[in-house]
Symmetry: D5
Subunit: 96 residues, 10 copies
């Protein structure tokens, strides 16, 4: 079951550089783990922004929230979620 | 080169049903042709809306505009385009 | 799996009264059928508006879109969907 | 008398973790007390956000404001209230 | 129980003048009836707009919706409702 | 001459509690003085928000601004002003 | 007493040219009459828009609404009103 | 050449009172100098806000930006600029 | 003197195709004439929209408004104007 | 390949003046380097704002993001990107 998730990161200006770097490193590890499991199916950077467009493939809304709220950067992100489904014109089997 | 394209269709209430159906049929054929060529890489329906989220893979902005403005439903759509690029955390080779 | 769905109805001023009444009658029948099946779990009127707040309980996003796009008033509604999940503070077993 | 209440929590980045945890614990106790009394009738988490959608059942607007402004997290929440009433198509007796 | 109600009237450009005048006359009669009953407690014109700011005093949200949806101009109005309650600094007994 | 004034209070998270309490106490005294003079004609709390809806009755815009900018909480409020006038359908003599 | 008034004209696409021209001619006469009386103190065109920025000098909000609602183009304008008063730094005697 | 300029001042809550007062005093001197030169032609306070509506009369956009960016409060203001020109219905010679 | 002008074209659905084509042809001729005179300095299509981003080089705001309001498509365009000036970091002589 | 890029700079009020100056100096050097390479093709200041309108000419979205995210002020800017292409009415060879 697919969801489009758009995340914009807003780190506080007062956060020490080392803390920010540590957060980003852990975020990356967590993200890559989820990608390997197939849960975080697509991940793109939005040009010119500290933001991404993602496609999540989950078994339930519950699971989606657990994955998103477990991200190290979660407290510093604006997240927008849109539920997606198969488009009748799509010819691609994995777009569902 | 990837672009996220979000299209919302707004057909005028005065359009005859047959005209609308013909438009949608042609739209579908054009869309599937572009998908077969790999230009319209992903296509999902947004749940609860006459709208889609798409990923286009084009050689240039010029080409993107030609494809979008050539869609039969183009005059009746609100279209929003965001340029995407590879995310440093992505592990998927085709997300670019 | 729960989704909050907010629907605002905007019938065109040019629609004949009889057509509007027929649409509303069918809408009501379809809605009550879905409520009896437990899919349309809650349905409230927003005071002062031709709009509702609803909670849908579905097996998938796919099913949600099929139910919504099959409503007789679908072409005349602005629909906003938000995926919900169990709140850790909730004590009510059926709020999931 | 029912009201849809949407709450988004925005804790200041400078709040010490212990203070935030204490606030959340008390918030949970207060919320569960109101749920046991039937005042806070439904409570759902919005997927991907530190936010909830709730249904309150109160005797008056006065009482609604007292309950909301008495929540420990009240000073840190954006709250949006919409008055609801029975929908003519509803078949569920408790949706009022 | 008080509610602030803001109504903006948008008559379609195609409505015949006589029909619009008849609607406004009936609206006025209904409004004055509600004012005499004390339900429509205050009514002001917003300068420069075909809009009003009103205070309704009702027994329930249900009653509020019945009054508003029964107005002859209801199908042509954007209506915004905000629930009000007594302000702790107010010294006026009837502001509740 | 009447104006609808909507005030939303946003105290900085860093303001000491005692300072905030002192401000609120003075605000209340000033507000009640203006109510006794008939300048601040109505004052209601918006349910679920640290905000109010008010009706001011002043001799001039100049006087309105002096009253508002003299409020102790003025530096911490978002204020929205709408000029009102007698509605042709009103039957209440003091709604002007 | 001064008010900034911003008007944007939106004539329906279906209005016959002659009717539109007649409306504009009358509007101009009415506007110039108000300017001669000193009520419509300033009038500027916003570059690139069928819109204006105006300053009205009136005795009351009541009078302001009568002037604006009496304009021939009133039914076709979006009007935004902001009450102005003398700025403490102004050195110009007539800016009040 | 005229421009409508709307300025909203947002001083940080952490700015010492003395620094704020000094800034405002200098701002006033600079503003009055520009008014004496005829560059800052009109200046009004928006009722209920720490904001103004101004009309600038400059030789070029370049000059406008130099004047605005040279204001002592410039770093703390949201500024909105709209180019104005003579309105065909205006009868006032200096409204250009 | 430079202005960024963004134009979005919204032709009414009821306009006959021939009329639309004639308008676009004339628009093109007028636009190219202004480009040859150097007034319409840059003109780009926004990808995916019936819209453009333009840079105008004019002697005055007056002239800008005359050029824009003289465009054949002017009644059908939403136009947004922003005054530009030389950027201190620019190394390009003609960016002014 | 062209992109319109609008950047608004928001330096935190707490940043020491020397740090801000150093950032701006480096930003200027980097910007001028990109202009010399032809990547940052146009750069204008928006009158009255600490903001610019720019045209970038890049080989790919990837390159655009690298250039923008490498700017010293990147962490303090709101950036908005719109892909542009040749307009059919343009007569200027370099507007592509």
């Amino acid at each position: 079951m697919l969801f489009k998730v758009e995340m914009t990161v807003r780190l506080p200006a007062t956060m020490p550089v080392a803390e920010a770097e540590a957060l980003k490193t852990t975020e990356r590890e967590v993200a890559q783990g989820l990608m390997r499991q197939g849960r975080w199916r697509h991940l793109w950077r939005v040009a010119g922004r500290y933001a991404n467009v993602s496609i999540f493939d989950v078994d339930s809304v519950e699971q989606l929230h657990q994955l998103l709220s477990g991200l190290p950067l979660f407290p510093y992100m604006d997240i927008d979620v849109a539920p997606l489904c198969r488009h009748p014109s799509s010819i691609r089997d994995d777009d569902r």
